[in-house]
Amino acid sequence: MSNKAEVIVIGGGVIGTSVAYYAAKAGKRVVLLDRGDIAAGTSGACDGFIIMQSKNPGPHLDLAMQSAALYRTLAAELDYDIEYMPCGGMIVAESEKQAQLLQGLIAKQKQAGLQVELLPIAQARQSEPLLAADLWGAAYCANDAQVNPIRLAQGFAQAARRLGAQIRPGVEVQALLEENGRVCGVKTGQGELRADYVVNATGVWAPTLLSPFGIELPIKPRRGQILVTEPLPPMLNHVLLCACYLIAKYHPEELDPTDRQHRLGVGLAVEQTAHGSLLIGSTREFAGFDRKTTLAGIEAVAQHARRILPALAKVNIIRTFAGLRPHTPDGLPILGPVEGLPGLIMAAGHEGDGIALAPITGQKVAEYLK
């Protein structure tokens, strides 16, 4: 292989492929390396939510809204069917207490320019009839959407390749190369490769490459277990979350450790994919790098799904899987240069927002590659 590039991107998930695409589009000579394959890690083991109303107002929501705008034309731009569906989303509240929590968030989101409405259950069921009648209601946002993450990563990778990027799956980066205090390339199982910039887009695995430099990235793997149903006729009109998801994400202190659902961080996340299967998630657990599903996790997710959508009780589950979300303490991704280590650009730590933020992450990170 040619041993000099302008930009090396490590990681072939939605973040790495997005960075590779936008960098190549900006005219850079890009090499993307992944030890496995495109979307073989977290991006191949998650749902496809592009959800605005789960984001905290501030930089988080701003980035998400910019990303949502990029998504509207992305399939045409990449010339690839990424199964983007601007279906709108609902966050379900089981109780008055949860509705109040949503109300507080919605007030701030409205100020930031995101239109979210809180609908009582009778009204919510008019557009989402399978919701249980005894729920409190749901927050509705027309800007929420969904996409197929595997196709998204493929679309970015193939478009990047057409712009001259080299996409090299099966190449494992063992270490960053440093010269005169600057990161100048990578050491791989197939030799060294040099570049002006190295982008670390390896998600939950990102800290490993930095620890030799005495930098401890605060990214921890958080496991999410997801159930897949048999393909079904269209039955959901929106992507659906429940307020438990937001509580697990933003107010973990509110969780009851004696309750299995709370202990496993289960919050509902349901979408119907383009070919009809439902993806039903998810747990949010710290279990190291273990990517296996657990019986307790699967049962808790299934029970909660039945609580919110009773019609799912008779649906066949054909498969389960788990993925590792890159969790950060403040819920925000780590983007941009690293202090004390010039030449290295971070693009990792998106936890459950990687899909929503992938396009804007690629675009913003490409701006650092001057």
Binding site: K292, T293, T294, L295, I298, E299, I317, T320
Partner: protein
């Protein structure tokens, strides 16, 4: 969730491999459970109305369903517990999650033997989704188990043993077989099976394929075409047969989902049907509690499946300390010798080499310090 029962050995799949494994394990004192998702045990054996080949020890001359009955009787005598209509939907280390007659239960196992078999391959061509196009195994189940003839005029795609045997059984059941179609330049299955259907006047068309199936809502005719040297259809050669049913006998793929879920190491063997769990000569996978036997370890036939089952059953019992090493070695050597016989001859050679490759891979990865192979 019902509280879990505990067994020394749990076998998944009550076909020839699974039953044979359970019998050997139970005979050596293991408390053994066999779980099968079907409501009848025996796997494919009860569809097999033809006589088996081989030597006396391999029950040559005995029909498949009689072998099935013998295995069931023997399993009952040894005290093997059998759960039917019970789907193992998950392996969580040594705990199995089972939907037993619609209820969720868990079972704890000292050792697990996966004998899940294989599933039929499908092939796509224009019209292949029309009602009347079905797997050869499905046809065999309908005629031999349920006694229903799914059509009258058949075309069979694939001339391996499954395609040839099912054609003969279709004729015994009163159907007409218009042709066996084989894309390869020669017949895939045993000469003895091919000769039987040729004597009955059925053409076996090699170098030929189905170019499309035509019909309004169901199969009404089948268009055949000759394959050129480039492997492409020669449009000049197309001719139409007035068939109402098409059988697909285009190979089998090991049913490996539970092994993937358990997380053992895999190996790709095109000759044996695809991705399959890497295993050693005791049928042990890379996980110290997980054994495999039968078609899940590579598609062969029922006699070999039973022998692999016996090997796994003995080895699993040995690993639980239920028999002395010397006794185990002698028992296993006898089984291995019989397996070698089954894999000899011109038809066994390819399988023997493919199996040897699996053991070589296992040894190699074991030396490189793979997951947890026993020394």
């Amino acid at each position: 969730m019902a509280t879990g029962q505990t067994f020394d050995i749990v076998v998944v799949g009550a076909g020839p491999a699974g039953l044979a494994a359970a019998i050997e394990a139970a005979k050596r004192g293991a408390r053994t459970l066999v779980v099968d998702e079907n409501n009848k045990p025996g796997g494919q054996l009860f569809k097999q109305i033809h006589k088996f080949f081989g030597s006396h020890e391999h029950r040559a001359g005995v029909r498949g369903y009689d072998i099935g009955r013998q295995l069931l009787d023997e399993a009952a005598k040894c005290g093997v517990e059998v759960w039917l209509d019970a789907v193992v939907h998950g392996l969580f280390n040594q705990r199995l999650a089972v939907l037993r007659e619609g209820r969720q239960v868990t079972v704890e196992a000292g050792r697990i033997i996966l004998a899940t078999g294989a599933s039929e391959n499908a092939v796509a061509f224009p019209g292949s989704t029309l009602p009347g196009v079905m797997g050869a195994g499905a046809i065999q189940t309908m005629i031999n188990v349920h006694r229903v003839l799914p059509g009258n005029r058949f075309v069979m795609l694939g001339s391996g043993n499954v395609g040839l045997i099912v054609c003969y059984q279709l004729m015994q059941a009163g159907a007409e077989v218009l042709a066996v179609v084989e894309a390869m330049p020669s017949i895939g299955g045993y000469g003895v099976h091919a000769a039987k259907i040729r004597r009955a006047g059925v053409p076996i068309l090699v170098g030929t394929t189905i170019s499309r199936v035509v019909g309004q809502g169901k199969v009404e005719s089948v268009v055949l075409a000759t394959l050129g040297p480039d492997g492409k259809i020669d449009p000049q050669s197309e001719r139409t047969l007035a068939a109402d049913t098409v059988g697909l006998a285009v190979g089998l793929t090991p049913l490996t989902e539970l092994a993937w879920m358990a997380g053992c190491e895999f190996f790709f063997s095109p000759k044996l049907g695809g991705h399959l769990p890497l295993h050693d000569d005791n049928m042990l996978t890379s996980l110290p509690y997980l054994y495999v036997a039968g078609d899940i370890t590579g598609v062969e036939e029922a006699s070999t499946a039973m022998e692999e089952g016996r090997l796994a059953g003995i080895a699993a019992a040995e690993s639980l300390g239920l028999l002395a090493a010397a006794a185990a070695a002698a028992d296993k050597a006898a089984v291995r010798q019989r397996i070698d016989v089954l894999r000899s001859g011109p038809f066994g050679e390819g399988r023997r080499l493919a199996k040897a490759e699996i053991l070589q891979q296992q040894a190699l990865r074991s030396r490189q310090g793979g997951q947890s192979w026993k020394a």
